[in-house]
């Protein structure tokens, strides 16, 4: 479904992503792992169009998406969440999600009908699904950190994506919140038939949830394979898992 081939991105003369490759098939739950600064977020930004690669190919459903601006890539069926909560802090929780639902339904330029009558059910359903329904009228900026992270995902769901990219969905969460969030992610994948690409620092979570794992270091792809393959790989053992796994 998504194919990233030998993609390179440098900031000045610093190579943040160097010849990275990634393959995501329909229905997969792919994890990208790697130490801080490995280039995971940069790679996601390249896929979603926030950044332009210097070199390489990125195709989604057999179509080149490299030159497209972010909103067009989203329209093709890729939605994402951000590592640092990236919501609409001054709008209500309901409106936060409604913004992406309206965008998905191509209704965001309707001028003369009240917004409160449009896309209400779809927005409600998503809030119910992720468990934010009782906070629908709260101002998003006043939510707890954990809830803001969930809202992040809910906004991405509003786009009805085929592929959803989650950049450290559990960053800053307590162990319980982490477990709850990963359970949610897994459930969404099943219920909605979503394909998921995510990155995560907690190795237990990754090896538990992922169907395929891609390991990055210094912007390079070391290996991508099933959890067993990756666990058995000597280079990964020594470079990243510290031989402990």
């Amino acid at each position: 479904m998504l194919l990233v081939e030998n993609v390179t991105k440098s900031f000045g003369d610093f190579l943040a992503v160097h010849e990275a490759s990634l393959r995501v098939d329909k229905g997969d739950l792919v994890a990208v792992i790697g130490p801080n600064g490995a280039g995971k977020t940069t790679l996601f930004n390249l896929i979603c169009g926030q950044l332009q690669p210097d070199k390489g190919r990125i195709t989604f459903k057999e179509e080149d998406i490299i030159a497209l601006p972010p909103h067009r890539i989203c329209r093709r069926g890729i939605a994402r969440s951000f590592q640092i909560a990236n919501i609409f802090p001054r709008l209500s929780v309901f409106r936060n999600v409604q913004v992406s639902v309206l965008s998905q339904q191509r209704k965001s330029t309707i001028l003369f009908r009240p917004a409160q009558t449009i896309a209400v059910k779809e927005t409600r359903d998503i809030l119910d699904d992720v468990g934010l329904a009782d906070k629908a009228t709260d101002v998003a900026g006043s939510l707890s950190h954990g809830d803001q992270r969930i809202l992040e995902i809910a906004i991405a769901l509003g786009n009805q994506p085929e592929l959803i990219i989650l950049d450290e969905p559990t960053a800053g969460m307590s162990p319980e919140e982490t477990a709850g969030t990963m359970a949610l992610v897994r459930r969404l994948a099943e219920d909605r038939g979503l394909t998921i690409l995510f990155c995560e620092h907690d190795m237990d979570v990754v090896f538990d949830v992922a169907s395929s794992i891609m390991v990055m270091r210094h912007g390079e792809t070391i290996i991508q394979g099933s959890p067993e393959t990756v666990r058995a790989n000597a280079e990964v053992q020594q470079a990243y898992l510290g031989g402990a796994a």
Binding site: C48, G49, Q50, P69, P70, H71, C74, R75, A79, R80, F82, N86, I87, F88, P89, R90, L91, S92, F94, R95, N96, Q98, V99, S100, L102, S103, Q104, K107, S108, T109, I110, L111, F112, R113, P114, A115, Q116, T117, I118, A119, V120, A136, T137, D138, V139, S142, I155, A156, G158, N159
Partner: protein, 317 residues
């Protein structure tokens, strides 16, 4: 969650204010009616600016230009052509919107302050044309004695004409700001990056907002001609743009009707302090500084905040 688009109290208050304003000419001396008409015109201008500034988060620093373009378009059509007057009233806002989109096409490529700076430069260009093109615009003299259509030529009918158009425009703006577009625009203001990521074409939405705002600015320009019967390059000068910007900040740029209040305060100050001199910009500067330090949410924002503290509702802006 499901409520009427405007709550009953606001509707009653608006209707009440409208009735009072409609009755005022019966009791007020002519000069005050004139000042009120001027306030209405300026209020429409400030409201149009707030659509891009308060709701769109764009630093439209030179909004006065589009007011001027509207005014000049009408004045030129009434003086230099024999086309029917209503055509002038229709063409002026459209010309303003076209100019707004044209300048906007360049500005939306930049963000924040850079947007504002480019706007000032391009706007000043338009001002220079109005100032220099003597044959067409009358240069710094402007155009005087514009023949206003009979029905609205005298003060009292023009007052009602302007009040009607102000009320209608505010209703339309209110509807737009409550629409999916209005909500999306506020989302763009708060987080353009995220909007792009959920499939929203940010620049397109900004341009639509600019088109609507400059349309109403142009309409305000035509109403100015109705009140004054003349146009002059000062309408497109940066001082006026600054004034309008301050009206939005002063009234409360995160509120719907704040700019109307801001316009009333500034126009009244300017008229009654009798200080339309070099000192006026100085006074504006002082108001701006006081605002930034003491009332960052504007008068209306401040009052709403007070009111909310009592009623304990959560609020969006």
């Amino acid at each position: 969650m499901r409520q009427a688009i405007i709550n009953k109290n606001s509707l009653l208050v608006s209707a009440g204010i409208l009735i009072v304003l409609a009755c005022l000419p019966l009791v007020l001396p002519k000069f005050y009616v004139y000042v009120l008409a001027l306030i209405f015109v300026t209020a429409l201008l400030a409201m149009s600016l707030n659509m891009v500034v308060g709701h769109g988060g764009m630093y439209q620093f030179h909004h006065g230009v589009f007011y001027g373009i509207g005014a000049y378009t009408l004045a030129l059509m009434l003086t230099k052509t024999s086309l029917p007057a209503w055509l002038g009233f229709a063409a002026a806002p459209v010309c303003s919107a076209l100019a707004g989109v044209l300048i906007g096409l360049f500005c939306v490529r930049l963000t924040k302050l850079y947007f504002g700076m480019l706007q000032i430069s391009l706007g000043s260009l338009v001002w220079a044309i109005a100032f220099r093109w003597y044959a067409l615009t009358g240069g710094d003299d402007g155009i005087h004695g514009v023949p206003i259509p009979d029905g609205i030529a005298s003060l009292i009918p023009s007052y009602y004409f302007i009040l009607f158009l102000l009320a209608a425009s505010l209703a339309v703006m209110y509807l737009i700001l409550k629409s999916p577009f209005g909500n999306t625009l506020r989302a763009v203001r708060d987080n353009p990056e995220r909007c792009e990521a959920v499939g929203i074409n940010v620049r397109f939405h900004q341009l639509v907002a600019i088109a609507i705002a400059t349309f109403f600015a142009g309409l305000a320009g035509t109403l100015f001609v109705v009140v004054e019967g003349s146009v002059f390059p000062d309408l497109l000068f940066w001082v006026l743009s600054l004034e309008v910007f301050i009206m939005c900040l002063l009234g409360g740029w995160f509120t719907f009707a704040g700019p109307v209040l801001g316009a009333a305060i500034i126009v009244a100050l300017r008229t009654f302090a009798g200080v339309y001199t070099e000192y006026w910009t100085l006074i504006l500067g002082v108001i701006l500084i006081l605002l930034i330090f003491f009332l960052p949410e504007g008068v209306m924002g401040f009052l709403e905040e007070k009111f909310k503290a009592r009623t304990q509702t959560t609020s969006e802006r």
